[in-house]
Symmetry: C2
Subunit: 344 residues, 2 copies
DNA sequence: CGCAGTCTTGACAGCGCTGACAACGGGTGT
DNA sequence: ACACCCGTTGTCAGCGCTGTCAAGACTGCG
């Protein structure tokens, strides 16, 4: 098959045009564009004027062919939640626009065997070089992926990683503290019998939320059992987990779901079982994703600044000149809506 | 700010390596890669063997610098629904991978003034050339955007356009028929008093769904009023529209929302008003998006193959060699869940 | 005043590929 | 046998930019 697309570009100004207009050499224009040192203010001004006048935009293809950068960063994800992914994408995209970079998006299925994961990665890398990658959970904590990238000498930054935080730049929230916050909130409303809906096995942040929740309850003196059921961050998983939790006797009065999707599922389980939310059982989610507002009653949840986290992560990847790993922690907050009430 | 990212690529095989190994000229390798005619089977085989042996992958930057193609297509969207956008993206992305193309994503805000829309487009085009663009609603029916692209001689294809279908390749479903299908379904369940939640003003497909629905009801002999309230395809719009519709007396028994998001909002309005779904009022959505399954009761809705539509659209853009506009219509189907019942 | 040392600027090759064009070779018609 | 044609293969310049290296401009100091 011969895929032929041909385009007649409007003739763009080239670096040569700029150089001629500014009366300087090609290389000087290049220096200005790349913010290189050792350029006099006068020369820079001349060149910038010419660039503006000609509405010059550097040609990415030529830049990457001649130089060692590609001006592309890749976003690797393996998260089924469209909501989460879109927010991440939008944050990373914003950083790219700000830095005249391009964004490449690739989905990886990390649930398969190591060999297959490796094959997917190789294919992506072969297919187009990138200056760096952004990893989202659960890829952030996949040793295989990290090792592979490092072995190839490819830079990357991580969003909300769990392990080995100093291995590469990353941005996260204190998931443990967030879980604890939910615990305090529910405990202070009088709840004493709790259920937790956990996330995917390999999702570090989900574990930290759960650990923070449990740890805070224990610290506050709760000594009864705390039920747990796996929700896998999916709506359907939330339904199943909700059913399991509903079966307990005496019945629990509050559920902490480690993300909103599974919280929504749990609410459906309650409805089906004839249990009212929040009258009989309170439900608290995590993410403040789009579903939180579209269920009824609206979901009380923890807001985390996903878009901003993604943006910061991308900036780390783009800005850095040195090697030192950095780490940024952003704030979360409780979003009180209608799915949590005082214990019955 | 000096954004310095440098990467040491593992030394890749180049076309020259392939040519040497195969014992042919550079140009012959190029011919094979680009599927050009006038290449003997023997030569092609030799080259392909060498390519496999060396694991050669053509360098995109060099290709676009030397040739007239960029190997990038752009996806332009202005749709707030993460669900819809993700599906479109995934379909287009698949087509790109199949054709060794890259995908560029750009968001446009088309609700602002014409001048600003034009400015956004110019910025996108200046920033990086593309071999073509994919448009999603409501951009598909924005005269300004279409004119602009055509004036610049840029190819594009449309997903679910409303007007001037022969202007460019497109893929769509028969929204009118889909609306009619919903009308028949509800009418046959005994419903006679209807409310419609309409979409954004400038969204052609939303109008067609509404028109098909109304037209079918009239054809079946319904002569009472059919209420309409604007939902703007948003969850919050759906709540507002739901409230308006609930105020009617005698109360309507069925609501057709032109997308799932607004249907979910309408369901919340019902709950708040103490009206049960589907006991008192039936609600039918459109899209079979993710929310359809995460509300309670689960939403009866119309499935449209968004991912597939996007994929086909991208293939049209990539495959075509001629100029003739083409058009593909795909199937939709009713997804029966729990939000619709017989009229009370 | 001259010279080393530093800052600033420029000349030029070449990144990996494609497009235009040339050259080759083998079949056809006369 | 010769001219002609067409399918096939090759040669080479150059796309727009950056890295290397060298030259020029300036500074301070003996």
């Amino acid at each position: 098959m011969n895929n032929t697309i041909r385009q007649h570009h409007a003739p763009h100004a080239t670096m040569e045009d700029v150089a001629r207009l500014a009366g300087v050499s090609l290389k000087s224009v290049s220096r200005v564009i790349n913010n290189e040192p050792h350029v006099s203010a006068k020369l820079r001004a001349k060149v910038e004027a010419a660039i503006t006048e000609l509405d010059y935009v550097p040609d990415m293809a030529a830049r990457s062919l001649a130089g060692s950068r590609t001006f592309i960063i890749g976003l690797l994800f393996d998260n089924p939640s469209p909501n989460y992914t879109m927010k991440v994408q939008s944050g990373v995209y914003r950083a790219c626009v700000e830095h005249q970079y391009h964004l490449r998006i690739d989905q990886i299925d990390s649930s398969c065997s190591d060999d297959l994961v490796q094959a997917q990665l190789s294919a992506i890398l072969r297919n187009s070089r990138c200056d760096g990658f952004i990893l989202t959970p659960p890829l952030t904590d996949n040793q295989l992926v990290l090792d592979f990238l490092e072995k190839q000498g490819i830079r990357y930054a991580r969003i909300a990683p769990d392990i080995q935080l100093d291995r590469a730049p990353c941005v996260l929230i204190d998931d443990f503290a967030a879980g604890a916050m939910v615990a305090h909130y529910l405990f202070n409303l009088g709840h004493r019998r709790f259920g937790i809906i956990t996330g995917p096995d390999h999702h570090g942040a989900a574990h930290r939320r759960r650990d923070g929740f449990v740890s805070a309850l224990r610290t506050m003196g709760l000594d009864g059992p705390i039920l747990e059921a796996p929700g896998g961050f999916a709506f359907s998983g939330g339904i199943a987990a909700g059913q399991v939790l509903m079966d307990a006797s005496p019945r629990i009065t509050a559920i902490f779901a480690t993300n909103d999707d599974s919280a929504a599922g749990a609410m459906v389980s309650c409805m089906r079982a004839g249990v009212t939310v929040p009258g009989d059982v309170s439900v608290c989610g995590f993410d403040d994703s789009w579903v939180a507002e579209s269920v009824w009653p609206a979901l009380t949840t923890v807001y985390q600044p996903i878009e901003e986290m993604a943006h910061r992560t991308a900036l780390m990847l783009l800005d850095r000149t040195g090697q030192a790993a950095t780490q940024t922690t952003l704030d979360f907050r409780l979003i009180v809506r209608d799915s949590v009430a005082a214990a019955p």
